[in-house]
Symmetry: C2
């Protein structure tokens, strides 16, 4: 059971709040955040392509790839937890990708085993990463049957 | 133009991240966070009632009341911005309430002028307050025509 979280930004931009979540997640399974360089191109299509290629190179064919995408499924926390437990059974490693300034390349979306969305509002990259970490933590706690997630 | 944010918790639990948002929001309009005591009752209905009464006492009849509720509308950031500009025109003061451990009392939901939701996932109180502050900040920036919100 391993979780790898890919984002486009700097390695040192992980906040203390996120570090706390990472630590807690680490009690349940191995977790790693991987910062990828932003392509920084003005052309949206080229930017997406370049970032998409860099990301896909990192993903093993046998990995489960979950992406955050505004057109993805807006799931309940319990449903996210179910997806996690299923993915761990079939794939072992869950890679989660957060898009860059322009989102994610169509090829990444095509490769994705699961696309999820946190509603219709737009979030900054840093906040969405924190939101993701809280949901990952919550999913693992739900699956472990702890009392963190109250219904 | 004034925004008052009510939540059930302690005054000192506002994180630095939230303080930064509050400062930025403060450049656009007056903003205040108000901590209300958690009722701490085991009975859900009684707890909601007690917290609801404490909250409603604080809201002036002429205030616009927006609440976060899981059954609320999942709006795009631009739509939230439109609601804000409309509410400022008609009411002047926008009160925003985040529910306690059990959510918000039916009477509060009834009094609310707008119920919004940040998707189906469950968030901790502290995170949802940060999410709210980012959307408030974003809404004000959208309405001011700044380039913070990129489409």
């Amino acid at each position: 059971m391993k979780i790898k979280i890919y984002y486009f930004g700097k390695a040192n931009e992980i906040s203390d709040w996120e570090q706390t979540h990472l630590q807690r997640i680490g009690f349940r399974c191995s977790v790693e955040t991987i910062a990828l360089s932003q392509a920084g191109l003005k052309d949206k299509t080229l930017n997406l392509e370049k970032e998409g290629q860099a990301l896909l190179k990192k993903i093993d064919p046998q990995d489960f790839l979950m992406v955050l995408d505004e057109r993805g499924k807006n799931l309940e926390s319990v449903q996210i937890a179910e997806k996690f437990s299923g993915a761990f059974e079939t794939h072992g490693t869950i890679c989660i990708a957060i898009g860059g300034a322009f989102g994610l390349d169509p090829l990444v979306l095509e490769r994705a085993n699961l696309k999820i969305s946190f509603g219709k509002a737009v979030w900054t990259r840093n906040l969405v990463r924190l939101m993701l970490l809280e949901q990952v933590y919550r999913a693992l706690e739900i699956n472990a049957g702890s009392n963190f997630h109250k219904v």
